[in-house]
């Protein structure tokens, strides 16, 4: 217990330095600025803003990223509530009641409740992360390369099983990501692998190029396809940002339940936050005395899913910080950012760089607070952004992304690479492949390869070691089970289809 308080105190002392407060604020503001743009979700926002954090010291960069993350999420829920366009799967549920509230002139309340619910959830989840961090890390330190490899397999399988869409296609995306990660010089021998003798590929494919291309540029290309958009922007001034005591009281249960559900589901890899928001909404509807209000502007229908997705977003840091395994696309972006700063995510971060570890956890809370105190009152400005027509918005995003990409290495080649991945991403979207598992595979690729090679070397070339070492065997068995459970309904459905056809 004392350790926990000491650690949190260290974290807050790092996060509350004037410089880091400034980074967090800039991050939150810029994150909201981009996140509020319709059709630009959390992942896309973070991918686009990633480069602006690269010039900072590592702790400052991660704190700024935390700010961006919160800003992006808040911007996303603003768009959901006011325009009825969910930027991300996690805020789909928010549109149901949020937009209805906005139509009834209660947009201010919906926005405030979303932020307050998120903040309460964030406070709880921060403590949970801090409490679970230390014990899980000590478990992770016992892992050898064999166990690590199996753990990564499990993490990836989890991510695939919980994600939406076809399991096989998501697996294929992971394989594609792993393959892309292999490009470049071999770690041990230095041999150029699949570089096609291009010196630019010798260092491998830059993480930011892939992320920006697949999530940023590809989205723009797809959005350009749409006919001139007709947005149902809620007109009128947004008032009533201060919720009344009655509002708070009626939402307290919803926020508490949302936080609980979100914290639990967030630890699971994959679409933790998405499932959490759906689960919290459904649960809240069941708990409600008057379920018919849901979908017609029930304030609990905003508070519960927003608390849940924020709690889940926060606890999804647990697998990343303790095991070094990113459970979703946002965390994969975090890994990318950490790697660029020379930090290898995993259990050793906490022991070797406690200020970074705890500073980051504290800054998550801080980012959340900033959102409520500074960002929420600015909602009027953000609403103005929603009125910017797309014909001006997409060139702005393009220019911003290009400058960001170029700034990483001062290399025009990076910009071109990101453009290529934009086209790749567009193709993936068109063929209904999810880009998120690809990014996970890409981020985990080097780690997986390294551990696989080491495990095989230690076992003297016998792959059986993965099944004879108990922890590894259990992890792989769970992976196999999960895959079977995920694929079974697909097969059953197909059989049913066949059955229907024949009858």
């Amino acid at each position: 217990m004392f350790d926990l308080i000491n650690n949190l105190a260290l974290g807050f002392s790092v996060a509350f330095s004037a410089q880091n407060l400034f980074f967090c604020l800039v991050g939150a503001l810029v994150g909201t600025l981009v996140g509020v743009l319709p059709g630009v979700g959390t992942v896309a926002t973070i991918a686009m803003l990633l480069p602006i954090t690269f010039g900072l010291p590592p702790v400052g960069a991660l704190i700024m990223l935390a700010g961006i993350y919160y800003g992006a999420q808040y911007g996303g829920s603003t768009t959901s509530i006011l325009v009825n366009i969910p930027g991300e799967a996690t805020s789909v549920v928010t549109t149901l009641d949020g937009f209805q509230m906005a139509k009834q002139g209660r947009a201010g309340k919906a926005l405030a409740m979303a932020a307050i619910g998120s903040f309460i959830a964030g406070c709880f989840a921060t403590i949970l992360v801090a409490a679970l961090g230390a014990p899980l890390t000590s478990v992770a330190l016992l892992f050898g390369p064999t166990e690590y490899f199996s753990l990564m397999v499990l993490g990836l399988i989890f991510a695939v099983v919980l994600a939406k869409g076809s399991v096989v296609k998501a697996l294929a995306m992971i394989a594609f990501g792993l393959l892309l990660a292999v490009v470049g010089s071999d770690l041990e021998t230095g041999a150029g692998r699949m570089t096609f003798d291009l010196p630019e590929l010798a260092d491998g494919i830059g993480f930011a190029n892939v992320a920006m291309g697949v999530f940023g540029f590809a989205e723009i290309i797809r959005n350009l396809e749409g006919s001139s958009e007709d947005r149902q922007l809620v007109q009128g001034k947004i008032t009533g940002l201060m919720p009344t005591w009655d509002d708070l009281k009626s939402c307290f249960g919803a926020i508490a339940r949302g936080t609980g559900i979100g914290s639990l589901l967030g630890i699971l890899p994959g679409g933790g936050a998405v499932i959490a928001s759906f689960a919290a909404y459904t649960f809240e509807k069941k708990m409600s005395k008057d379920p018919s209000q849901f979908g017609r502007g029930a304030i609990q229908g905003v508070a519960a899913p927003e608390s849940a997705n924020n709690a889940a977003a926060q606890t999804s840091f647990i697998p990343l910080l303790t095991l070094g395994i990113p459970p979703n696309a946002v965390m994969a972006l975090m890994v990318g950012a950490m790697t660029i700063h020379g930090i290898v995510p995993g259990p050793q971060v906490m022991t070797k760089q406690p200020d970074l570890f705890w500073g980051m956890i504290a800054s998550m809370w801080l980012g959340n607070l900033m959102l409520v105190v500074i960002n929420l009152p600015l909602v009027g400005i953000w609403v103005q952004l929603l009125r910017v027509p797309y014909r001006l918005m997409y060139p702005s995003i393009l220019v911003f992304c290009c400058i960001g990409i170029y700034s990483i290495n001062n290399s025009p080649w990076d910009v071109v690479m990101a453009g290529v991945f934009g086209l790749v991403g567009y193709w993936l979207i068109k063929h209904d492949f999810e880009p998120a598992p690809m990014l996970l595979g890409f981020v985990l690729g080097p780690l997986m390869e390294e551990n696989l090679r080491r495990a095989m070397l230690i076992s003297r070339g016998s792959a059986a070691v993965f099944f004879t070492r108990p922890i590894s065997a259990v992890l792989l068995a769970i992976s196999a089970l999960l895959l079977i459970v995920a694929v079974l309904p697909m097969i059953r459905k197909r059989r049913e289809e066949v059955f229907v056809e024949e009858s």
């Binding site: 025009p412 063929h431 492949f433 690729g445």
Partner: protein, 179 residues
């Protein structure tokens, strides 16, 4: 009964796909998706063919690329097979204008940034990208371009302190003219 059932299904297929030319592939989106993945795996095999593989107990540089390429190949085959055996969406229609516009704007920026510097490149790229829209209003666009250029310059150069070259720089006959 069986034959009638099959006939019905084929008819409903035809209703879903008025072109009828691709009617034989029932889930063209997945089928061609899988085929392209197989192609990518083949390219990876080709590119990593000359890399040494296993040496005794230890992996060579070529082992993992071929392992991952094999995995991708396998999954590509499964997806293509699913595309042949299930009903699903037809081949998606790809737009030409959007991808072309975005790609050429990006290329333009990559070519301009070194010689012309941040300010001019940002402004010109914005104007170029915006001109691709069917409803461009020039005064509005120019103002927006100026505003964005100013915003990016302040954010990247002054707030974040990144080392950007702001203005054009030319080297003529050994002397560099910088603005």
């Amino acid at each position: 009964m069986g034959t009638i059932g099959v006939g019905n299904r084929e008819m409903s297929d035809r209703i879903e796909e008025p072109q009828g030319a691709r009617g034989r592939i029932r889930n063209a989106q997945d089928f061609w998706g899988g085929v392209v993945l197989i192609g990518l795996a083949l390219i990876a095999f080709y590119a990593s063919w000359d890399l040494p593989g296993m040496r005794g107990f230890s992996f060579g540089p070529g082992t993992t690329p071929r392992l991952f390429a094999g995995l991708l190949m396998l999954l590509g085959v499964v997806i293509a097979a699913i595309g042949l055996t299930t009903d699903g969406p037809a081949m998606p229609r790809f737009a030409i204008r959007g991808p072309l516009l975005v790609t050429s704007a990006i290329l333009l920026f990559a070519l301009m940034i070194r010689p012309l510097g941040l300010v001019v490149s940002s402004f010109l790229m914005f104007m170029f990208a915006a001109s691709g829209s069917s409803e461009t209003r020039w005064i509005e666009t120019t103002l927006a371009a100026i505003a964005l250029t100013a915003f990016c310059t302040i954010l990247f150069v002054y707030l974040l302190g990144l080392p950007f070259q702001l203005w054009p720089r030319f080297t003529i006959g050994g002397t560099t003219i910088a603005f």
